[in-house]
Symmetry: C2
Subunit: 567 residues, 2 copies
Amino acid sequence: MAAAESTAHDLIAQHRPTLDQALDTIRTRAYWSPHPEHPKAYGGEGSGSLSMAEGKAAFDALLGTRLDLGQPGTDDFVGGEVSPYGIELGVTYPHADADVLLPAMRAGMRAWREAGAELRAVVCLEILARISARTMEFAHAVMHTSGQAFMMAFQAGGPHAQDRGLEAVAYAYAEQVRTPDAAQWSKPQGKRDPLRLTKEFTPVGRGVALLIGCNTFPTWNGYPGLFASLATGNPVLVKPHPRAVLPLALTVQAAREVLTESGFDPNLVALTAERPGEGVAKTLAVRPEIRIIDYTGSTAFGDWLETHARQAQVYTEKAGVNTVVIDSTDDYKGMLANLAFSLSLYSGQMCTTPQNLLVPRDGITTDAGPKSYDEVVADLAAAVGGLLGDDARANALLGALVNPDVKARLEAAAGLGEVALPSREVANPEFPDAVVRTPVIVKLDGTKPDAEAAYLSECFGPVSFAVAVDSTGDALELLRRTVREKGAMTVGAYTTSDDVAEAVEEVCLEECAQLSLNLTGGVYVNQTAAFSDFHGSGGNPAANAALCDGAFVANRFRVVEVRRDGA
Amino acid sequence: MAAAESTAHDLIAQHRPTLDQALDTIRTRAYWSPHPEHPKAYGGEGSGSLSMAEGKAAFDALLGTRLDLGQPGTDDFVGGEVSPYGIELGVTYPHADADVLLPAMRAGMRAWREAGAELRAVVCLEILARISARTMEFAHAVMHTSGQAFMMAFQAGGPHAQDRGLEAVAYAYAEQVRTPDAAQWSKPQGKRDPLRLTKEFTPVGRGVALLIGCNTFPTWNGYPGLFASLATGNPVLVKPHPRAVLPLALTVQAAREVLTESGFDPNLVALTAERPGEGVAKTLAVRPEIRIIDYTGSTAFGDWLETHARQAQVYTEKAGVNTVVIDSTDDYKGMLANLAFSLSLYSGQMCTTPQNLLVPRDGITTDAGPKSYDEVVADLAAAVGGLLGDDARANALLGALVNPDVKARLEAAAGLGEVALPSREVANPEFPDAVVRTPVIVKLDGTKPDAEAAYLSECFGPVSFAVAVDSTGDALELLRRTVREKGAMTVGAYTTSDDVAEAVEEVCLEECAQLSLNLTGGVYVNQTAAFSDFHGSGGNPAANAALCDGAFVANRFRVVEVRRDGA
């Protein structure tokens, strides 16, 4: 057995059970994850992974270094990341000459295609395993680029992101093996001999895929596209957000290591960082070599990509306005606690955080008696205040504001209406320069035209609007209009009425939005679990794709058939 | 059991075995069809289908009538089809007021969604069964709109088109049931109670689908998009080519009958015909209600749709330039006979007909000894001449030219180079007005820049270019360039060399084109079989989708999830 064959054999033996479990789970959509989300699972004898302390040390050792990935066509090393916690990372990364790098990335495509779907899948799983072993190092990299608190950076940036990557590999594999490698075709011709053909079917990648990373969830939002493209035979060029390069640079490093060790061209995965204001994504996106683009970010640039990058398949997650309809509840405390957590987590800087809370102005019925609009809003404000009253807990939940724009929006929000809960500045003793703020809740009258401009725009950050509406029926109409016009990654609703539940479900089915109903426990509207929950629907303006489904992978490759006479 | 439930039960009992066989065959890609392609299978006691004579009578009875489909928003009846065989059809069809019809088409969406994937699939199969029973009537409708000869109109417009429709239903069903209807999700929390959610998943259609039909294969090219959209929960508005309305109008009629009988809104499938020069496709394509478009036709309008109908998923099959590389053969006679048939069938008016035959100018090796370029071309011309020497056989193979543009192109082609085989006018005793022509073969020098304009454009119709190239290597480079720049629905190659075979395969894999290698028997490069062969690749400029695969169906619907606390 040749060395490469032996490696392939080993990788399949090692990872096929995980792939099979992932394939099974995307069908059942039960709970499963191979990536532990408790810090204690990392490090220690035989674990093969860095402990929390080792991860911190590995991260510290990266600071101020040049991350030379050994890529062709590197014309410079650039970088200027400043952590939302105040640290200057001082890491520099390759800046690519695309005219050299892109052809070099295509050079390995034939061998990668010839490897076939299964070997591509297990190579991807090995990359994820290497990343998983460095989860604690990634946790710090995500924390100090996104501003997420450590625990969230570890969980969402580590195991949850790895889950989403694995999920994409499973979908990609399943899609490719729907067509067999070969077929014998024999068509009866009555008394004459049958017509016979031998057919071979090969999944072929489309070309170089471009991953345009985001600032807030560089790994979680990046891995689905990266692994879906790679697993379907495409080289992937990673262009991280300039403020969140490190997590994706480490990802590219791990991928290049594994590709090299398994006998493939490391240039199948490459990174390009950019200089401030260079806007390299715009230049790269329309190059003829780029045939797939994955993007998470603003609606403006997402729309630009969809309009101009016509040579590519473009998958976008853009802005949206997430709504929670509050009609009634049989667990008032649970509802308030659940919402308070949803609004607070990562200072509301999730694309899934609720923004508009629609409450009938005549109030709602609850297990604690009827509550007026003002009471509901005051009680929610108190719940958020209570949750974040302790600075240590507030820091652990909120993290830091990711950039000055968020802070500016937060400050401006107080002027949009009556402030039900003012934002509070929280000191971070470990990182005195971190900008930590609790959410603001602003009361708006849903029938006032001047309020509409506020609640019908995405106000990304720790800003929520408690919108008074005339009735639950009006809330549903506003929900429908919001999803249709502005898009939504999530919708929440609280009701004890079967009729209202059915009506809100119907709006979500018709407008294509993912609905969480009556969440009062430890699952939040802004969280989705890989293998089970869809992230976005791909059917409203917030995103043209969902994570993850068949549509997310099926058009990243094509099947080429070669047929010959005879059996 | 209610009436609707009983109908659903019956339809499932009746059609589920066929659906299962289709699902199995798209996985094995072996030969299968439930639609017989021999005329004798139609008609007779207990067959439930029209015989050839009954089909002719049914077609004759349609002539000169108004086909009132009972659609809302019909503001006029229009029609002006003239058969390529000279008959004026005189049938008029509904012309729609889209402002009335489109909302009416959306009205049935909820019930259609709630029916679920399986019931939608078997309703589609029942529609196909009704169409199958009228195959002989459709045969005449296809013949007298496309100009295909009767046997081809019967086979390609009947059973083969129905196969492609069924294939699309199978893919659509398989795609929708990849996600279960419901799931229980339970996430362990150490010593605490697990987190538990109940999840429901519903495939939801995107909105109204628009099918823009073509002149040459109204049913074969129309059914995949029509049935893929309908089976995934979308209403379908059919806008036929003005010269080929009848086959799709009969299709809509059958669909509306079955929808009504099975308790659904017939307006889920509707037709709109247009007045001469109205260009209604352009107006409809950009309406906000239209969320899916399927189109077969010119590159210019396909590109226009892709650019402007941004609110819709757009699936296009456009023009291409199909190449056959002739390097060597061990069955010279078989090759010539196979190519002669491919060039002649339906007067070369197939999107899959070879156009450019690339032959090394120093000649090729064959089992009949070396043959010079001139000899190969002369022998091919003789083979075509022999095949079409008898007028009756010529009429049966060629059919009629579909429109005056094809005739004009054919006449102009003789001026592009040395004519190796002149086109011959064939008299049709049954239809004296039919324009029947044999193919022209024109010799071109592949190295001459002035020849390039000819062989690098699609010359749709019975025109082939025998292009002299310096070597097989040059042929492969020209093949690559042609596919990359102009697109191709098919590629053919003849070679006895393993190295050349591998090289041509590699070009097709890299440029994403479907390859037929060394066909010398009764299968032709321009024919593909549903359930087994892909029609187009979706990866070169000739088409952005393939018939049929996961990508063709996966984005016609989205999955909406509703999750609730608790198990």
